[in-house]
């Protein structure tokens, strides 16, 4: 099964959260949520768009913090989970899910305060188009993550069933410039790649995460990191 079909299958959607965010995966989930919350800040009454929202783990989290949020994805099976989560959290009145193409968004220019995408650009075949479209519908912030070309991710990538696009810093800078965005903040993490964390038991995951943080905070930390978070502004 190709990546896109695999992603949209009902049974994959139903097991998606449990599979991906068990064990060391919880550490990844926690770090990603922290990255989104730090970048977006106080979201109360802000208009937010999440690209590739999947099962809505960030979408619902931000709705709980008062954002007026739209989650967009290609998979209705994934978003059916998101709608369920939103109902359980009691935030259905200020959250919407819709199917759409990230390269042709169904919104007018400058509508949102913040537009973000997590774990999206590594699967993007036309990143320049996607980033330009995110910039078009945002009047202020665009936030996303990338997997880094010169890191342990390069090794891990060889093991993956589907292709994953890796980015060098210069490529991100060029993409931002071409989309009319300027970098306002950045963060780099995970010297050890995500795949490693998914495989090890919880107890060990914590210890390896500590080691990882030590390496990350070292002088060469940014160079070793496998994940980067990019916080940009519309020019």
């Amino acid at each position: 099964m190709k990546g896109k079909e695999w992603y949209q299958a009902d049974e994959i959607a139903e097991e998606y959260d449990a599979k991906r965010f068990s064990k060391g995966g919880q550490l990844i989930d926690h770090r990603e949520k922290q990255a989104v919350l730090e970048a977006l800040g106080d979201v109360r009454d802000k208009r937010v768009l999440e690209i590739a929202c999947g099962t809505g783990r960030f979408t619902v989290m931000l709705a709980e913090r008062g954002a007026d949020i739209v989650g967009l994805d290609i998979s209705s099976a994934m978003m059916a989970q998101g709608r369920q989560k939103a109902r359980e959290a009691g935030v259905s009145d200020h959250i919407e899910f819709m199917r759409g193409d990230a390269a042709r968004l169904p919104f007018p220019d400058n509508h949102f305060d913040s537009v973000f995408a997590m774990r999206f650009f590594h699967l993007a075949d036309t990143p320049a188009k996607f980033l330009a479209e995110m910039a078009r519908v945002s009047r202020n912030q665009v936030f996303f993550d990338t997997f880094n070309r010169f890191s342990t991710r390069s090794v891990y990538n060889w093991l993956l069933p589907m292709g994953s696009r890796l980015y060098a810093r210069t490529e991100v800078e060029r993409l931002l410039g071409d989309a009319g965005l300027v970098l306002a903040g950045e963060d780099h993490d995970f010297v050890l790649p995500y795949g490693f964390y998914r495989e090890i038991p919880n107890g060990l995951a914590g210890q390896f995460r500590d080691l990882d943080a030590t390496l990350r905070d070292s002088a060469i930390g940014e160079k070793l990191a496998s994940v980067s978070y990019w916080d940009a502004r519309v020019r």
């Binding site: 739209v70 290609i74 209705s76 978003m79 059916a80 709608r83 259905s92 009145d93 919407e96 899910f97 819709m98 199917r99 759409g100 193409d101 042709r104 968004l105 169904p106 919104f107 007018p108 509508h111």
Partner: protein
């Protein structure tokens, strides 16, 4: 989708306004229906409360 979403969404192809045709709804939202572009006439279905605004070349 809630009817208030009509204030922000537009046709993904030409960015013109959409018109809502409702087939099924409850107190909170539209569960089934169609969004029709007022310019190009393209029709976008709403299924299980989720509008499908994928351009026609990307639909199943």
């Amino acid at each position: 989708m809630k009817e208030s979403l009509m204030d922000i969404i537009c046709c993904p192809m030409d960015k013109h306004d959409l018109e809502l045709e409702v087939d099924d709804r409850n107190d909170e939202e539209v569960l089934a229906g169609t969004l029709v572009c007022t310019e190009c006439g393209e029709r976008y279905p709403i299924e299980d409360g989720i509008p499908n605004l994928l351009p026609p070349d990307m639909r199943d």
